[in-house]
Amino acid sequence: MTVTITWYLLLAAGLFSIGVAGVLIRRNALVMFMSIELMLNAVNLTFVAVSKELGLIEGQVAALFVMVVAAAEVTIGLAIIVAVFRTRASANVDELAEMKG
């Protein structure tokens, strides 16, 4: 049984869906953050898989870019979460509803 591109894409879709579910269901900001990372990496997986399949380098370049951006996002996101945790002693996003219209 050979591992074809379909397997990779199915895995990526599964990982992405788990990420989406995590963001939607979990209330802890930290866990939601990890779910977002999961989604990003699912996308990276599709990039690399398709790049390998088609013999194009651009997909791998895009994956590298996503990693860099994700790293930057992690720094800022974690800083925000730490700041929120310090003032509220909680990372429950349901309590952060000041922006309600």
Binding site: V20, L24, V93, D94, L96, A97, M99, G101
Partner: protein, 624 residues
């Protein structure tokens, strides 16, 4: 000579500004002398330019001042021709005398400097109107004199009647201005310029008789407002609420002649439209008659003079209507002298009688006020048309020109003669009731002659009243030659023989003397005759024209305004505004529900929308 002409406008304007800004600090009487001095200098500046025309060598000149709207031929430029020069002489000359008179008359008034500021503003506005070289600038002056008239009529605005009179004058004039404005629009649409030279040169070829008739009739609507003709004359009697010098300057001598001047200036257009000329002549004659009938019954000295002014303006309008522009302008000038004199004399009397204006409470002032008595006597004879005073010549010329037109115009001529009779009668009534007979003064009134600042203008005007007519007698038509360059393109040959002219003059003179004799016999008696009966009552009430306008125009207008204020504004206008506001608020509230503040809600929305997009793309088949 013409280089300095801009000062004729600028000096009074500067006086107005100075007196408005620093009047309180300058104070009485320097504020008054300043106002007088500036107008007198304006007059002096204009003298050489006018004299130059007398020799017949000087030509009409356009002095360019500065650019305003060059594309429509509307720049600030002065058109200096005999017509504008004679108007300048009258306005600044009589104006200066009335400023001088006001120094004494307004003595002790709380807002003395303000009064002179307004008077100066009036002179400046009138000069803009008179010297304009195009209709656009003329309209600026036209509106500005309306403004200064309003300011001066309601000068004593704490008196409700004065405030109301000011508003009435302004609003009635606005109706006339509407006509003027529409005429200007048609002029611009037809000629593409406002410039007098260009318009009058192009008129015979550029427009049809129909267009010319429309333009001139609308111009005449403007003239009926400013020159107090039927149907818009009703503001002028009320305007007597203003201080008497104002009545003399604006509502007798100068501003009310603006309509006549405007028609004379537009003579080329009026010549193209004989129908308009006839309308103008008929309206003028009827105005002269109606106003003379009303004047007979008035007992307020200023009211008599006000209606007399309307009546005399009717003569001038008749003159320009029959194409006798020179006669119209001539009567304008002589009337400015004797009517200003009459008003100033009346002011002097009112001043002496402690603000009493009822002639029934005067009488016997002859000995107490000799200068006023003599000068007013001259004006009385002049306006009645006694040879050889100024009014005789100018009125006679108008009547002769009307007679010369012949045909249906003979009816106007007969009415004109009748008005001359009535004029002599009511002026005699005024003069006798005021100065002759036994005193009928209220207790505690001690008449006295007025101070010299008031009597000097009376005497100067008196000299002109007596002599001004001699500049244009049938034997020596100096004034007509003088004005000729302004009406070059208009040829009106008189067909009357010398004998006929003489016969007409004798007829006019005998009518004047008959009127005076009638008035003298009726009023120079021990007991004033009882003035009752239907005619007197109706004439005293000015034939109920004001009430009629009140019922037909003012009341419906008020009702419409009330409806607007109470129904239209709160329900429809506010309703629309509030409705839009409420709608936007409600829509916003609806949208606000989507912003729950829960990050998960937003993320869920994003996810659902993403899935939907994928479904759509798959269904449509494109995209991937």
């Amino acid at each position: 000579m013409t280089d300095l002409l801009w000062l004729v406008i600028a000096l009074p304007l500067a006086g107005a500004v100075i007196n408005i800004l620093f009047g309180k600090r300058i104070g009485e009487p320097i504020a008054g002398w300043l106002g007088f001095g500036l107008v007198a200098v304006s007059w002096l500046i204009a003298v050489p330019g006018t004299v130059a025309f007398m020799g017949g060598e000087a030509h009409a000149e356009t002095v360019y001042l500065f650019s305003w709207i060059p594309i429509v031929g509307a720049d600030f430029a002065i058109l200096w021709d005999p017509l504008s020069s004679v108007m300048t002489m009258v306005v600044t000359g009589v104006g200066a005398l009335i400023h001088l008179y006001s120094i004494g008359y307004m003595h002790g008034d709380e807002r003395y400097p303000r009064f002179f500021a307004f008077l100066n503003l009036f002179i400046a506005s009138m000069m803009i109107l008179v010297l304009a070289a195009n209709y656009a600038v003329m309209f600026i002056g036209w509106e500005l004199v309306g403004l200064s008239s309003y300011l001066l009529i309601s000068f004593w605005f704490t008196k409700p009647s004065a405030a109301a009179a000011g508003k009435k004058a302004f609003i009635v004039n606005r109706i006339g201005d509407w006509g003027f404005l529409v005429a200007l629009m048609i002029i611009f649409a037809s000629f593409g310029t406002f410039d007098f030279h260009a318009i009058f040169a192009a008129a015979p070829t550029a427009i049809t008789v129909g267009t010319a008739t429309a333009i001139t009739l609308l111009l005449f609507v403007g003239a009926t407002g400013k020159s107090a003709q039927i149907p818009l004359y009703i503001w002028l009697p009320d305007a007597m609420e203003g201080p008497t010098p104002v009545s003399a300057l604006i509502h007798a001598a100068t501003m009310v002649t603006a309509g006549v001047f405007m028609i004379a200036r537009s003579a080329v257009l009026f010549e193209m439209a004989p129908v308009s000329g006839a309308v103008v002549a008929v309206v003028g004659t009827l105005t002269a008659l109606v106003a003379a009938l009303i004047a007979i019954a008035q007992t307020d000295i200023k009211k008599v003079l006000a209606y007399s002014t309307i009546s005399q303006l009717g003569y001038m309008v008749l003159a320009v209507g029959v194409g006798a522009y020179t006669a119209g302008v001539f009567h304008l000038a002589t009337h400015a002298f004797f009517k200003a004199l009459l008003f100033l004399g009346a002011g002097s009397v009112i001043h002496a009688m402690a603000n009493e204006q009822e002639m029934t409470k005067m009488g016997g002032l002859r000995k107490k006020m000799p200068i006023t008595f003599i000068t007013m006597g001259a004006a009385w004879l002049a306006i009645s048309g006694v040879f050889p005073l100024s009014g005789f010549w100018s009125k006679d010329e108008i009547l002769a020109a009307t007679f010369d037109k012949g045909g249906a115009f003979l009816v106007l001529w007969v009415i004109g003669l009748l008005v001359a009779l009535l004029t002599a009668f009511y002026m005699t009534r005024l003069f006798v009731m005021t100065f002759l007979g036994e005193p009928r003064w209220d207790d505690g009134v001690h008449p006295h002659e007025s101070p010299y600042t008031m009597t000097i203008p009376l005497m100067v005007l008196g000299v002109f009243t007596v002599t001004a007519g001699l500049v244009n007698t049938p034997a020596r038509l100096a004034f007509e030659h003088f004005l000729h360059p302004s009406f070059e393109t208009i040829q009106h040959e008189m067909h009357l023989s010398d004998g006929m002219i003489l016969a007409l003059a004798v007829l006019a003179l005998s009518i004047a003397i008959a009127g005076i004799a009638w008035g003298w016999r009726s009023y120079n008696v021990e007991e004033l005759p009882a003035e009752d009966g239907p005619f007197w009552e109706r004439a005293l009430a000015a034939f109920g024209v004001d009430d009629f306008y009140g019922k037909v125009i003012v009341a419906p207008g008020k009702a419409a305004s009330d409806w607007s204020a109470e129904t239209m504004d709160p329900k429809v206008i506010d309703g629309a505004a509030h409705g839009i506001g409420h709608g936007v608020t409600a829509f916003g509230a609806l949208l606000a529900r989507f912003q729950g503040g829960q990050v998960r809600g937003y993320a869920g929305g994003l996810a659902v929308a993403g899935v939907l997009l994928i479904v759509v793309f798959l269904a449509v088949g494109g995209g991937f």
